[in-house]
Structure formats: structure tokens, C-alpha cells
Amino acid sequence: MSHDHDLNGAEILLKALADQGVEVVFGYPGGAVLPIYDEIFKQNRLRHILVRHEQAAVHAAEGYARATGKVGAVLVTSGPGSTNAVTGLLDAMLDSTPMVCMTGQVPTSLIGNDAFQEADTTGITRPCSKHNYLVKDVNDLARVIHEAFYVAKSGRPGPVVVDLPKDVVTAKGRYIGPDKVRHKTYKPKVKGDIAAIEAAVDLMAQAKKPILYLGGGVINSGLEAVALATKLVKMTGFPFTQTLMGLGAVPASSPQYLGMVGMHGTFEANLAMHDCDVMVCIGARFDDRVTGKTSTFSPKSKKIHIDIDPSSINKNVVVDIPVVGDVGHVLEDMIRVWKAKQLHVDEKALKSWWREIDGWRAKDCLRYTKSKKVIKPQYAIERLYELTRDKDPIIATEVGQHQMWAAQFSKFDQPRHWLSSGGLGTMGFGLPAAMGAQVAFPEKLVIDIAGESSIQMNIQEMATLAQERLPVKIFIMNNQYLGMVRQWQELLHGGRYAESHMDVHPDFVKLAEAYGAKGRRVDKPADLDAAIMEMIETPGAFILDVRTDASENVFPMIPPGAAHNEMLLGPEDEAEKPSSEDGMVLV
């Protein structure tokens, strides 16, 4: 019989993780965390996924969290272990992904002495975590872990770092359960102000040219919020658009969906955003990839903004009716108030608004020139989507042109099926994120849509796939270029392709084989379907190296520093691109 105060720090940690419902931790061992690994060895409740690089552990936990809605868990050692995790932490921070990252630390007596593998982890991670802790007393450990999970998932979700000195995890101490821990200060407001909600629905009922602009916050809020968002869309008949982070919040198959908004969003979505008279922003943050030039952003509209984080309000764009609260709670109240007030939309105005929108839709802005000779990247995604849609795949992406085509040409009817690095735009995100999702859903089809360059940033995780028998499919859109960089150089730097071409890439088929997986190369449009089917039907991990047209660019495009109505629709518009000086300095 062990008494509560007989536990050592490592046992306390594992008990706390168990009480938090953690089933999987992604990690990599080292000196400072050996006592924790010893405890992991002695039990078989918590599954540990041994990655091949700590950055990948964090992205895997992000993939796991985004696919499940749970908090991801990471365990890494001190010094290089924690610094390797930093990119992933910032990625999770910018995309509001809930996570607890536990880092080893040198014993408290050595902190500050430049001890072996010492890093000021709380100092380094302060600006790239939602919160962090250095645990100095084993008796604080259980409380801190419970607090960390609470902070990670409450309000606007984010990564929380817990730094664990080695002497703390070996010392004996007291355990307390989650029910004994209440956070002193952090209590985000989830209910929206009812007066603001009433003003918002009144404005919506008067709207003649409304648009709903949905973001990642809808998905963050949970499945009920997602259902309520769909209800709001149906109830109002309003057109809606989604951000890169919001894809799948409301089904893309809805006839009211205008496609993605923003730099590489559709013509109809961006023009509707520009010309609307009422914009309802729900869990999105007016990111500069969405707004373009803010001084000309949606100049005629009154704006409603629902967001749980008061710092998102009026940050980039000044709004008329802010509603601070959780999307689910606020939408529930909005729909209730709408019904109680017996409000109706302005049918006549809405009809003519839809006529205008249909005119923009007729442009068919995602149209591209088909080819029988080379595989057009858009075609590759279209075929992948068509051949896998009945399986509801989870799609992860790396960062670049392929990511944008994946966003434009796959249609998501469900949330949590799209895993992409939006805010930080981290090349190397996709493979480990797909791995994390596959750990959560071993039976599901999980595909990483990759660029040949991005994939090499975390290619070592092929070994993790093999060890854990994770059948992730890697769909490489191989254009031999840092395609997105090349596109900007073509449009903004006079076609001077400085360092965006790589002469040398590995043979991805052999690489797959080297890691015990299967692979295939395809370069003819006629062979693509068969190759995709082979990828899906082959058990286990698979790399499909799709040789795509290297000269293709992503359109539509709002050039940096331009307004929504200054979109480039295709190569024919490139000549008249606005080459604003302001735009050149933007990223």
C-alpha cells in the first residue's frame, strides 16, 4: 500500500497525467528525464511514442490535439531537447493548439551554473508558450500539472511548458488530484455579453449584403459549436467563407460556401468580404493573410467579432460589435435571441446579393489549364480528393504552394480533418502532425500532402512510422522548387530565382524503402489515378512522389499589400500586378 506522500516526482507526474486522461505522450529521452522514463518503463497505461527529433514530437502532439480536440502531451529532455521543441511550441501558440510540454531540467542546485545541458527553458519559451512553469518543489508538482492542462485547454487554447528539474522528479512528495486544484487568476469569460449579442442579431437581420467569416476558433470551441455554426448558416441563408484554420468548421459542400478567404482564397469569397455591409467574424482573427491591406479591407461593412480572447478584438481591424466569449456559448445565445425576437433576414436583399455573388462565382477562379503531358498540381489534389473522399481522410500539409492547392482543392465536410500550420507556416509540420493524428486514429486514412523540400525538414519521422506501424501516406508534390518562394520571386523580384531551386533531392522511392516503407514515382497524368490507388491500398506507410509542373503558380492571389479587389486571377494578370513599395516589405 503506498501512501500519497510516498510517491516520487516521476510517479506523481504519471499519476497526474493519468488523472488528466492522457493516453499518449510524444517524446525523446535524455539525462534530465531518465527518472521519468524509468517510471514510464514500469507501467503500461501511458503510451510513449518515440520520435526521431523533438520538433517532431511537438508537431505530432499538435496533430493529435487538432484531430481529437484533446490536449497533446510532449516529454523532452533538458538543454537541446527543450530548444529543439521551441519551433513546435511557437507553432502551437500561433495556431491556438492545446498542449502540455514537459521538459527536463538540471537539478535545482545547479540551475544558473551553466551546468551540462542546462538551458533557461522558461526564459526561452516565455514568448512562445501560453504559460510556463519551473517546478522547484515536488509538492507543487501535481498542482502544476493539473493547472497546466487547465490553462492549455481553457479560453484560447495554447501550449504550456512545465520545466522539471531532475531532483524534483526524484524527491518524494504529496499527490493531489485535479479536483483539488482551482486556478487563482485564469478564468476566461465564456458567455458573451447579452446586450452585444442582441445588437449583433439586430444588425444581422437588417443586413442586405451579409457574410459569415468563420475561423479556427469555431473548431477550437468544440463539436457543439461546429453544429451551431452550421445551424446559423442554415437559419440565415447567409453566404459564408472560412479561413485556412477554419476549413471544415461548416461543411464545404454547403451551397452557401464561397470557399476560403484571403491571399489565396477564392474570388467570390474575397469580393464578398470586400463588398459586404455586415461581416460576422466568428472565431477568426483578421490575420494579415486574410485582410490584405487593412486600410482598404471591407470598407463598407459593419463588423461583428466573436472571440474568446479580448486581445484579438480591434487588433488589426476595428470592429463595431465585439462579443467576447466562447463561440459555442455565443452562438447558442445568438440563435436563441434571434428566435425569441422572431427576426427574419431581408429575403429580397439577400436574393440580389446572391445574384451578385453568383456572378463572381461564374469566374470559376480556381480554373487551371489542364495538361496531358505534365501533372498539374491542382489536378493532383483534385484526383487525390476524388479518390479518397469516401474514406474521409485526415489531411495534413507541409508549407508552400502544395499547402494552398490542398486547401483550395480538397473539400472538408467535417472539422478536425485538416491539419496545417497557418500562423507560423512551419515547413516540416505535416509529417509529424499526420503521425500524431494516425496515433489517435490508427484505422483512418491519414495523408500528408507535402512539398519535396518541406518533407525533408522532418523526414526522419519515417522511422517513427515504421517503429509504431503507422500507415501514414505521404503525397509529395514534387516541383523541384521551393515553389512558394519561386512564385514570389517571379511576381515580386523580377524572376531572379535566388536559391529557390534545389538540384539535389533524394530518390524518395528508395528513401521510403530505406525506412521499410513502400514508394512509387509518377510523372504522367494518365498514371496518376493508379498510383494514388496503389498508395491507398498498400498497407503501411507509403511515399508517392508526384512529379508536378514546376512552373505553376497558386491563384487567385492577393499580392502582399494589396486589397481584396486587387486579386490576381491567373498568369494573364501577372503583368498588371500592383508592385507597391509597401507590399515589398510585407511577408
Binding site: 516565455r126 514568448p127 501560453k130 504559460h131 490553462v151 487568476t185 479580448p310 486581445s311 478584438i313
Partner: protein
């Protein structure tokens, strides 16, 4: 709005009640430097030992939109209990303390002592050739005092930065 360099910037004094825990000051300062906000003055000290609370008084400047952002960003920090804009919610009393060292002999020495009297500064140290004055007041009063001491042999200044509190009966 792109914001940070627009006209119409105003000076605001903001009081922040925080848990007195390691790293909390670094969080606040890191927020200001990381996001490019100004710090004109910042003071911090424990104010309620029993509740383990510290109070930070920060004087900053920016457009109305930036000031709103600063407050929202501060409130978002996990160990922050409360953020109050004393300038907006005023009236408030602001004070700063400075120690001012003036070295000199003869006429200048006499003159420095006379001005110190006018400003109600106390002499807290003196040698045959120097004084240390302690002066309390609004920052502009201290600025004025230091300016007057400049030609009289000013050699060193140490200032606390602003502390502030709302007038009237209510707590923060």
C-alpha cells in the same frame, strides 16, 4: 490598423495586480519589448504579502487602439489578477521619488539648497562639497528640479519610476 506609429498618442498609467511569482516581471517586460510597446516607467513591489500579490505600475504611451491592446495583452497573462487604466478611470494620484546628488562649493552650493527648499526636497546626505536631495512628486516636478540642478553641479540621479493610486474610497 498598422498602428504603432500613428499620431494622437497618449500617456497612460496602468496598474497591474499580479501573483508574486518568479518570472512574472519578465513576462510583463517581455510583452512590452516583444510587441514593440513603449515603457516610460515601470515599478514593481509586493503589496499584499499574505495574498502573495505584487503591484506593477507601468507608464506607457500609444494610440487609443494600442492602449486597448496593451491592456488586453496584459490581462491575458496567466498570473495577472487585474489591469486598471488609471488614466482612463481616473482621477488618480501619481508620485515618484528621486535621489539627486549635487556637488559644488560657494554660490552654487547655496543656490542648490535654496531651490531644494522651494521644491520641498529633503537633504538626506551632505558633505562639505555635496548634497543628496530626496524629492517626491509628479514626474514633471522631478524633471524640473533636475533641470534646475544641472548647472549647479548635478552629478547623479536615481529615480523610482511612477507609482499611482486612484483617488477616493475604492480599492483597485
Amino acid at each position: 490598423m498598422t498602428g504603432k506609429h500613428q499620431p494622437h498618442t497618449h500617456r497612460h498609467t496602468i496598474a497591474v495586480l499580479v501573483d508574486n511569482e518568479p518570472g512574472v516581471l519578465a513576462r510583463v517586460i517581455g510583452l512590452f519589448s516583444g510587441r514593440g510597446y513603449n515603457i516610460e516607467s515601470l515599478t514593481v513591489a509586493e503589496v499584499a504579502a499574505r495574498d502573495n500579490l505584487s503591484r506593477i505600475t507601468v507608464v506607457t504611451s500609444g494610440t487609443a487602439q494600442i492602449i486597448e491592446q496593451i491592456k488586453a495583452q496584459l490581462s491575458r497573462l496567466v498570473p495577472v489578477h487585474k489591469v486598471v487604466d488609471l488614466t482612463n478611470e481616473g482621477p488618480a494620484v501619481e508620485r515618484e521619488l528621486a535621489l539627486v546628488k549635487v556637488a559644488g562649493i560657494g554660490e552654487k552650493r547655496v543656490e542648490s539648497l535654496r531651490i531644494a527648499g522651494i521644491f520641498r526636497a529633503h537633504t538626506v546626505d551632505s558633505t562639505n562639497e555635496s548634497f543628496v536631495f530626496e524629492i517626491v512628486g509628479r514626474s514633471d516636478k522631478i524633471d524640473a528640479f533636475i533641470n534646475l540642478m544641472e548647472p549647479l553641479g548635478l552629478v547623479d540621479v536615481s529615480r523610482t519610476g511612477v507609482v499611482a493610486i486612484a483617488r477616493g474610497t475604492q480599492p483597485l
